[in-house]
């Protein structure tokens, strides 16, 4: 039992990332409203970003900015163990911007669908398509 609890607490970030991913996937598949589906898609994207940022965390390390960068006794000797790994951060910066772009396109398409069918519910839209 203590083993299980320590395992959950030690990898809490990863458990939550899986949970958020499954919440987003459920919303994309099972929700009927188009805006709710888009919210689910965004939650899925942020879950993946959470996974990548969690990889970069190190125990006893500081944020990735050089400590002795300037001043009279400036030197640029870098001990990689003293800094959090910044590579996943840079990759995820791109992912956030791409996420907002897909959100904008998805909401624009939802507005066009609403103008055509006068509803955002998926089952009503499908019923109207079948009637034609």
């Amino acid at each position: 039992m203590t083993d299980l609890i320590s395992m959950v607490v030690a990898k809490y970030n990863y458990w939550i990332y899986i949970t958020l991913m499954m919440i987003g996937l459920y919303a994309i598949i099972a929700k009927n409203n188009l805006v709710k589906k888009i919210v689910g898609m965004n939650i899925f994207q942020t879950a993946i970003i959470l996974f990548y940022v969690s990889i970069s965390v190190k125990k006893g390390a500081t944020i990735p900015i050089l400590e002795h960068g300037h001043g009279p006794d400036a030197h640029h000797v870098v001990h990689a163990v003293d800094y959090i790994n910044p590579l996943p951060h840079v990759l995820m910066l791109t992912a956030i911007v791409v996420g907002v772009a897909t959100l904008g396109v998805a909401l624009a398409l939802a507005i066009r669908v609403y103008n055509n069918y006068n509803t955002l519910e998926e089952d009503k839209i499908l019923a109207q398509i079948r009637e034609k």
Partner: protein, 81 residues
């Protein structure tokens, strides 16, 4: 990383995500999604990813919420699920 704050905010993130999907009002859902994004931003500043944190605060919590509210304003607030 300060792990008690990390655990508390991770729990709040899940609560915000579930409530954003359960609430029966699209404007409420977009505001809850904004709070979800802002808590993600806090999480990233805790984990030491400061550049990701302020990009998320401006782009994720700011622009996404504005886009959602604009889309809800142009369509409808009502929803069945």
């Amino acid at each position: 990383m300060i792990w008690p704050i990390d655990l508390a905010i991770l729990t709040l993130v899940v609560v915000a995500a579930i409530s954003a999907l359960m609430v029966k009002d699209l404007l409420g859902a977009s505001v809850l999604f904004g709070s979800y994004s802002f808590m993600m931003c806090l999480l990233w500043s805790i984990m030491g990813a400061v550049d990701v944190a302020f990009t998320e605060a401006s782009v994720g919590a700011g622009v996404s919420t504005v886009l959602f509210v604009a889309a809800v304003f142009r369509t409808t607030r009502r929803t069945r699920d």
